[in-house]
């Protein structure tokens, strides 16, 4: 059961976007002056990678199998190890290079980014079989808002900056983590693809003999 569900995952997308994130984070490690600009991009890409973990091209069939959404989501959550490992790799490399970052806050931001992408995918997965592209884009734009629009950074920060004035990112991520846990729990308890099911039932399963 676990093997087929994992094999059907969008691994090229998850691994590919995580790989790009590692390259961007690696540039931040190589050029410490640019780390505070590149690490938020790296983490946003990891959030986008997490959004692809629930993509299921065969959702019309998979969603009517006896395996429930809770079990399928649990299995697919294993794929989150890829973006988490990629983020951890970048952070370890940055620590070895001697970058002075608030590591606890950065770790929290990494977990929050990845969980935010996954939670948003869980919510949208109840409507569509492949939420990755839309959720990835939305999550990236939300997470990058403080970088793209400096006025936003006066109110909300999504990445900890050492010694900077302004709000801390920790309260944001604690709230995001709590909301994400609730969103995941709520979304997996719903039946999948509520809009698609009647179409499937009417067009295939109830076709007259």
């Amino acid at each position: 059961m676990v093997g087929p569900v994992l094999r059907a995952g969008a691994w090229p997308a998850v691994a590919g976007v995580s790989g790009v994130a590692v390259v961007v984070g690696g540039c931040g490690v190589a050029f410490p002056a640019a780390a505070t600009a590149l690490f938020p991009i790296c983490f946003a890409l990891l959030a986008a990678a997490a959004a692809f973990t629930l993509d299921e091209p065969a959702s019309l069939v998979v969603d009517v199998t006896p395996t429930g959404p809770v079990r399928r989501t649990q299995i697919r959550a294993v794929a989150l190890l890829a973006p988490l490992a990629a983020g951890a790799l970048v952070m370890v490399a940055a620590a070895m290079r001697g970058l002075a970052l608030p590591w606890a806050s950065a770790g929290l931001a990494l977990a929050g980014n990845v969980l935010l992408g996954f939670a948003a995918a869980c919510v949208v997965r109840t409507r569509t079989g492949e939420p990755g592209a839309a959720v990835g884009t939305a999550v990236v734009l939300v997470l990058m808002a403080p970088s793209l629009v400096p006025q936003v950074a006066r109110w909300v920060r999504t990445f900890p900056v050492p010694g900077a004035d302004g709000p801390s990112s920790d309260p944001v991520w604690w709230i995001v983590l709590a909301v994400c846990v609730v969103a995941i729990a709520t979304s997996v308890s719903r039946p999948r693809l509520r809009r698609a099911r009647p179409l499937l039932a009417g067009s295939i399963w109830r076709r007259p003999a």
């Binding site: 997308a13 002056a33 692809f52 990236v140 793209l148």
Partner: protein, 289 residues
């Protein structure tokens, strides 16, 4: 009974009429795209509100059109292009060729380009070209800096989105490319702060669809980095041409294909030459005024 058939030139060429109809339809789809609408709304708000009171140089407030009209426009046209993939088996058997449909998609870039032109006019109204915030550039070079940072990215981003949509299957390609470009521009700008006089770093800074040209100096005044803003516009326009040609190459056959490839090679050579001229022209070292 006899019938008389009269032959004469049609009122309009059928190919042109089809192209116009397709372009109008794609343009309507773009202007209704929520991402593009959000980008335009944000630009309108930013330009209506005006720059911050404590602004020290233009580069703190002029990247918004590039990010929102160019970057978000790229995502919007990427989705516009990709959204036709599902109907390709049906659309593919119509008399209109894929390059003609791609050309119609490329035509929608005129909308963000027009928005970029309006943004430029409003920006010049807010910060006149004679302002010291532009640094030591000549008045014509100041206009070139603005055109290269506001107008041309608004044209090039959507064209890049069409090319990406024609060739890349991964549905998240647009936002990944947006972040990679944003990261690259951030990286080379920060490296330029450390090595402002390096020729190699200047080439790297200008090897992007968007580049900063000024920095507020800690000692006071505005520092202009090396490079020619006029040749940089040439490099950007060459990139636009390459994006269009790469997009048109998809589905092109026979002599059209070989003609596109030939033109692509010429555009590539022109882009390299213009990049070198952009990096070696203008100020040969950082100048503070």
């Amino acid at each position: 009974m006899t019938a008389t058939l009269t032959f004469g030139p049609p009122a309009t060429s059928p190919g042109r009429a089809t192209f116009t109809a397709l372009a109008a339809r794609e343009t309507r789809r773009l202007v209704l795209n929520p991402v593009f609408l959000f980008a335009v709304a944000f630009i309108v708000f930013v330009l209506w509100a005006g720059p911050d009171a404590g602004i020290t140089e233009i580069d703190t407030s002029n990247p918004y059109p590039a990010i929102f009209l160019g970057g978000f426009g790229m995502m919007a046209t990427y989705w516009l292009t990709r959204s036709m993939r599902a109907s390709e088996p049906v659309v593919g058997v119509t008399p209109v060729t894929q390059p003609a449909r791609t050309a119609a998609l490329c035509a929608v870039a005129l909308v963000p380009f027009a928005c970029g032109c309006l943004a430029l006019l409003r920006f010049v109204q807010l910060i006149p070209v004679s302002s010291p915030l532009y640094g030591p550039f000549s008045p014509s070079a100041r206009v070139a800096v603005l055109v290269g940072q506001i107008v041309v990215p608004a044209l090039g981003g959507p064209l890049l989105g069409v090319a990406l949509g024609r060739w890349v299957r991964f549905p998240g390609a647009a936002f990944v490319l947006f972040l990679v470009l944003y990261g690259w521009v951030s990286l080379v700008t920060i490296v330029t702060m450390a090595y402002p006089d390096s020729a190699l770093v200047a080439v790297l800074r200008l090897f992007a669809p968007f580049a900063f040209f000024t920095l507020h100096s800690d000692a006071g005044g505005v520092t202009a980095w090396r490079g020619s803003p006029w040749f940089f516009i040439g490099w950007q326009l060459a990139l636009c041409a390459i994006a269009v040609l790469v997009a048109l190459l998809r589905g092109a056959e026979g002599p059209v294909r070989s003609r596109i490839i030939r033109t692509l090679a010429i555009a590539g050579v022109a882009a390299v030459i213009l990049l070198m001229l952009a990096a070696t022209g203008g100020f040969t070292h950082a100048v503070t005024a």
